[in-house]
């Protein structure tokens, strides 16, 4: 419980610092926000991405031991706490290192083993139905210093190749329609859109309705 509260507190502090308090409030309280669930057949992926020149970047699978031993570290406390919490719940993380610093990460469920495997809570409100060898990806973060360099699309493209190379056939995710950066990245990568879900949230209470 304490771990969760600390993570939420640092999340608010870090996000307010990076994106402003309005962005933080919009995450906690919103009405009629449109989510776009997406899916991708990973067999249709292109095989490589042209990373921007001049940056020494390495993609990694985020590991609990490496985090605990400070083999690499996060520039934002909330992302590290979130990483530790996600790993503790059995979720998997894909990261981008610049030197020893994790400048981007993205989380995903282990591939569904059978139709009865546990699911991420988002799956229900998004109306996604993962099947064996499917995975749900969520909560991508790119450090502000790395934005505007065409890195987000390369990072997520690289992540999808990583999934495919580890036996995942199909990936799911979602983005908010009012997040133009996310919309652009998903369309650049040719995710298939699965309609629209109108969602409202007041602190912990969330309602949702499929509208298309």
């Amino acid at each position: 419980m304490f771990e969760y509260l600390a993570m939420r507190l640092f999340h608010v502090i870090d996000n307010a610092r990076v994106s402003g308090i309005r962005s933080v409030v919009r995450e906690i309280v919103y009405a009629g926000r449109i989510a776009v669930p997406v899916e991708m057949d990973l067999k249709s992926l292109k095989s490589s991405w042209a990373w921007p020149k001049g940056e020494e970047l390495t993609c990694i699978e985020i590991e609990r031991n490496a985090l605990d031993h400070h083999d690499y570290d996060y520039p934002y406390r909330n992302r590290k706490l979130k990483a530790q919490r996600n790993l503790g719940k059995g979720l998997l993380g894909y990261g981008l290192l610049r030197g020893r610093e994790v400048v981007a990460d993205l989380w995903y469920t282990p591939p569904v083993i059978s139709d009865g495997s546990p699911e991420h809570p988002d799956v229900q409100w998004l109306g996604i139905l993962p099947r064996p060898n499917h995975s749900y990806a969520f909560d991508m973060f790119l450090a502000p210093a790395m934005r505007g360099k065409n890195i987000a699309t390369c990072f997520q493209g690289s992540f999808l190749l990583h999934l495919r190379d580890h036996g995942v056939d199909w990936a799911y995710g979602y983005y908010w329609a009012d997040n133009i950066a996310a919309l652009w990245m998903h369309r650049m990568l040719k995710w298939k859109e699965l309609g629209r879900v109108r969602a409202s949230r007041f602190f912990g209470l969330k309602t949702y309705r499929r509208i298309a």
Binding site: G148, K149, N150, A152, T153, A181, A182, L183, W184, R187
Partner: protein, 81 residues
Amino acid sequence: MDIKNDIRDFIQSDLLRGRDVPLGPRDSLINAGIIDSLGIQKLLEFLERTFAVKISDDEIVPENFETIDSITDLIEAKVSG
């Protein structure tokens, strides 16, 4: 109003920010890394403000923003329609 020149000027001044990149009307802005997830936001704000048009979510696709020509076609269709 010269839509194509205005778009080219904006890309050179605000997206390239002085970088010396040759920019023909049919050169891919996406492959050149000029329009990424941050660049598209700046470009949309510029287009909607300058040409008094509204670009819908459905129109924000790579084909419409691949080149200066394709962006010009999109805006001209909106201005004339």
